[in-house]
Amino acid sequence: MSVDPNAVNSSSGPGLLSRVPVLHWLRTQLFSSPLNTLLTLLTLWLLLATVPAIIDWVFLKSTITATSAQECRKVTGACWAVIVEKHRLILFGVYPYEEQWRPLLATLLLLGVIILSGIRRFWNLSLLVFWLIALTGAAVLMWGGVFGLTHVENSRWGGLPLTLMLSTFGIAFAFPLGIALALGRRSNMPAIKTICIVYIELIRGVPLISLLFMSAVMLPLFLPEGLTIDKLLRAQVAIILFAAAYMAETIRGGLQAIPKGQFEGADSLGLTYWQQTRLIVLPQALKIVIPPLVGLFIALFKDTSLVVIIGIFDLTQAAKAALVDQSWRGFSIEIYVFISAIYFVFCYSMSKYSQSLEKRLATEHQR
């Protein structure tokens, strides 16, 4: 078995191999045993078979300066010119061209508040204020109609800002709902407990797509005649309801990790249930669940791509729209790679942040 998580480098004699650092490293890391040598060679073969071809396609044989699709078809590598040509459509959808500074600003606002939430100095009530400002600001910028901004129908919103809005609004509204559900699930009152369990398990048991379909075709039937909510808002509601169930389970994990003594201590001080929850339980529980909450946000960020299926113009749908143009047909892989890269940068940096946070928070528990 080549598995040994705590492997100690085998000590070696004072030969050339152990005196030259590089050779020593090579020997212990890559050629320490026949099996390891075989694995190294196999991996090298795999890399040689794929990496040069990918580098060729992405860099060496690609073109970014081509001015037309005809020019692009002559090169064997990637045609990045299609991204140059279509980047506004991919990033901002069909938002009016002259007004596209507004979705850009909204994107920056949302990104700003996400980054701010990652800085521990702001982990207090001021964060709530920042979120309120950012969410309202983004909504005002996108919608317009006030402060001299022209009104833009939300059927014309699209691209990156929409993806960001769906996920940030989703997480922001799911948060209080999730806390309520988690507290309800741990409640002593059987009726409230049952309602919460049924809700959480029901939502977690079905795919997000079915909820989105529900928002698209069933929600209009639930509302009184004459009252209609537009498609985007309905999808946003579905995403919030979906995220809340997962959020509740994450927060419940944090609540369970709090020692019984904390509850008893709070009781003995004569705190009421709400004082106990607000002052003793939640601050500790939420701190524990911050890393999994970041994970939840990453998952939600990726999951918002599903709104494509009900025809909402998010980042992924924008890619499909860019592919509709007849003259630039056949470069879908380039566009998918570009969008994948955007998603990757967001998700990877958030997951790295969550890992480092986990490490920092973990050390504080040690005494």
Partner: protein, 396 residues
């Protein structure tokens, strides 16, 4: 302390219905909550019924027996447009189960290999595995599905110039063709395989009992392997070796014979397996790492052979950590298979989507989707909870 009980008799709690009594408040809160949920529910049902009557939509499941009138690209049972909606939905369910089960199988294998590779002593293997995990789990599954689908449809050559990596395997823009086996021998082969599984389970019980009594360890792995290989082969030979290999070949513009994996199925399976295996790799890695280094050393100190340490000491403890998150990954594959609708693989969701577009029976359709996934989700989690309880650490 003994007589304390007698002297201070706890006063029976007075029945008072004031707001200060937590029990009273609990009842009031619960009544309010139930009334709220019930009221909202009633209001929505009321609106729905009104809206349906205004739009002249009939409710009920009568439409299931009507003629579907649309074709389905692929399925495990035959389907023609003249068949009923009921049969169409059955085809959809079977398609979902097919892709979910294949996905679970391959994702587990690939994920376990990559998870172990991430812990390898070999720097190169470790790094490649890490890059794979980080890239694959940070790109949305839907995008990966589109990507694989486009790769198969647009960049693969036509059937005449199909890739031919192995004998009998063709990869083209019509999907992937692999050889299939059929004939009477196949049934016997399967019977033999079933027999072998039953035999090895019996052997396992016997070996465990003998080990409990005498302490002798039986080479279970090797004998099971032999059984699994020999019994089906024997059954096949006894049945008169009636089995033929159906190798796909190019006839005209398309392939004939063999088994065809359509581009949609192949893209969906590829996407699901690659995406989920990255998550499974992390589950496996953290499971193995959760076993303390002392366990390896202690097992070594007891003189247990290296090959047995993993099986007898480390794996049983790692599995305990691995199984709950693994279950949720299996559930995720099943639920994520619903993304099939985006690339046109006829799974449950896309068949019902077509159905409700044709009939307008939106509520029934969506309820059926939800009921189907809930059934699968709840049964997998019940099974896994049972299994988890069985192998859980029994403490005091």
């Amino acid at each position: 302390m003994m007589n304390l009980k007698n002297t201070v008799a706890a006063p029976a709690p007075k029945k008072n219905f004031s707001w200060n009594n937590p029990a009273t408040r609990a009842i009031v809160y619960q009544v309010l909550a139930v009334a709220l949920v019930g009221g909202v529910g009633w209001y929505m049902v009321h609106n729905t019924l009104h809206n349906l009557s205004v739009r002249n939509i009939t409710t009920g499941f009568d439409f299931l027996t009507r003629e579907a009138g649309f074709a389905i690209g692929e399925g495990l049972i035959t389907f023609t447009p003249a068949d009923t909606y009921q049969r169409a939905i059955t085809v959809g369910v079977l398609n979902t189960l097919r892709v979910a089960l294949c996905g679970i199988l391959f994702a587990t294998i690939l994920g376990t290999i990559i998870g172990i590779a991430r812990l390898s002593k070999n720097w190169l293997v470790r790094t490649v595995a890490s890059v794979y995990v980080e890239v694959m789990r940070n790109i949305p599954l839907l995008l990966q599905l589109f990507f694989w689908y486009v790769i198969i449809i647009e960049t693969m050559p036509g059937p005449r110039k199909a890739f031919h990596p192995l004998a009998g395997v063709f990869i083209s823009n019509r999907g992937i063709q692999i050889p299939s086996v059929h004939g009477e021998g196949l049934t016997w082969l399967l019977v033999g395989l079933l027999l072998a599984v039953l035999l090895s389970l019996t052997l396992r019980v016997w070996a465990r009992r003998r080990q409990d009594q005498t302490g002798k360890i039986f080479a279970l792995g090797r004998s099971t392997l032999v059984l699994l290989l020999v019994t089906p082969a024997l059954a096949w030979w006894l049945s008169g070796t009636q089995m033929s290999l159906d190798v796909p070949e190019l006839k005209g513009f398309n392939f004939a014979g063999g088994l065809t994996l359509s581009p949609e199925f192949a893209a969906l399976l590829f996407g699901l397996v690659i995406y989920t295996s990255a998550f499974i790799a992390e589950v496996v890695r953290s499971g193995i790492q959760s076993v303390d280094r002392g366990q390896w050393e202690a097992a070594g100190a007891l003189g247990i052979k290296n090959s047995l340490v993993l099986r007898l000491v480390v794996l049983p403890q790692a599995l305990r950590v691995i199984i709950p998150p693994m279950t949720s990954q299996y559930l995720n594959i099943t639920k994520n298979s619903s993304l099939a609708v985006a690339i046109g693989y006829p799974d449950l969701v896309s068949v019902i989507n077509t159905t409700l577009n044709q009939t307008g029976q939106a509520i029934e359709g969506i309820l059926m989707i939800m009921a189907a996934y809930l059934t699968v989700s709840l049964s997998i989690s019940f099974f896994m909870n049972w299994y988890n309880k069985r192998i859980a650490l029994v403490e005091r």
